[in-house]
Symmetry: C2
Subunit: 212 residues, 2 copies
Amino acid sequence: MAEVQDRRELILSTAAEMFARKGLRATTVRGIADAVGVLSGSLYHHFPSKDAIVDEVLTRYLDAIRARYAMVLASGKGPADCLHDLVVTSLEVAEEQPHATAVYQNEAQYLREMPSFSHIQSAAAEIQQTWLQVIAAGVADGSFRDDIPPRVFYRLIRDAVWLSIRWHRPDGPYSTHRLAEDVTSLFLHGFAAPAPAARKANGRARVRARKR
Amino acid sequence: MAEVQDRRELILSTAAEMFARKGLRATTVRGIADAVGVLSGSLYHHFPSKDAIVDEVLTRYLDAIRARYAMVLASGKGPADCLHDLVVTSLEVAEEQPHATAVYQNEAQYLREMPSFSHIQSAAAEIQQTWLQVIAAGVADGSFRDDIPPRVFYRLIRDAVWLSIRWHRPDGPYSTHRLAEDVTSLFLHGFAAPAPAARKANGRARVRARKR
DNA sequence: GTCTATACATCGATAGAC
DNA sequence: GTCTATCGATGTATAGAC
């Protein structure tokens, strides 16, 4: 029985990697079977269709996010700390499940046409609500600005955080937690240098055109 | 002769819209021909292949960005103003060419396997250099923070700006220029409310778990 | 410049032997 | 549980008439 589960898991993890690297549509059933080491027909003993594999990869992923977001909210911290924890949590999930993260962030078009899309969509809505709830609490208690629409802030930090999967390498010298701290600091306090009381000619330097 | 060019343009614009809406791989030659109102074989009189259509859509797009980024650099403004202008310019291009923008941001996998990828990649590198140049100038003259790696800041603001194509509707009440101002303000000064000299119990409110 | 007609590859999925 | 063998649909691209 452990054999059976292992086979299913091998198919799922192999498919997830190929989905992320080549794209959902470019990944073929035959290709997955080749990578696993069986013939394509054998996959249909474990899964009823290709889309069922996609659905299981994403459902596990979204469930993991929802569970961890719930823990962040349950901590009872303030809005700024919760926002920080959401960033940390998201980047941790992205590190633990990089393939599913990439698929979810890059293949909205394919997913929208899947039979089980409404199932995926409801999970996504719950995740979005978590962010908006934290942001709204921060605006309400005065710790966040009220001149930028909460939905706009959400979209901007959401894309910045999740799309880091496209360039960030968790095993490199710039760690996931370092990234989380920088993202939080940047989105809360900005990239402009804090003015040290008085400084002359601040920002007066010109940007020179590059030589070619 | 104007007839000829119009036909080509119609194919290009029709294809671009379908590429953006359905994805490059999901858009078929037959589908483009149907939308244009001809049979699929006729497209090969105007373009040698499907990839050639993709390439022309993206080349025009990248050339437009390069030309306008060069104008921003030529203005001779300071780093903060240049950053602002890069944001404005990028969002303007995204509004003018939404289909090409979406394709370029969402279909990196397909593009990487295209024959003419190196041609696209070099244009992308030049665009990236423009941002990094402005950021480096700001760090050098003290107007930007030096404790966040410039490349990290670039990736974060880049994704936030360009991926706004996924959710922002330029013809809605929240205009492109309003978005540009908010993005610039957010990334320069942060989402945290500016402290009005002294305020008690700032950020001490808790985020309540949502009722279900 | 568009059509008809079709070549040729590859896709997801199935049936039945082992 | 995996194999062999294959179906039917669909993909890009081509050849040649009009």
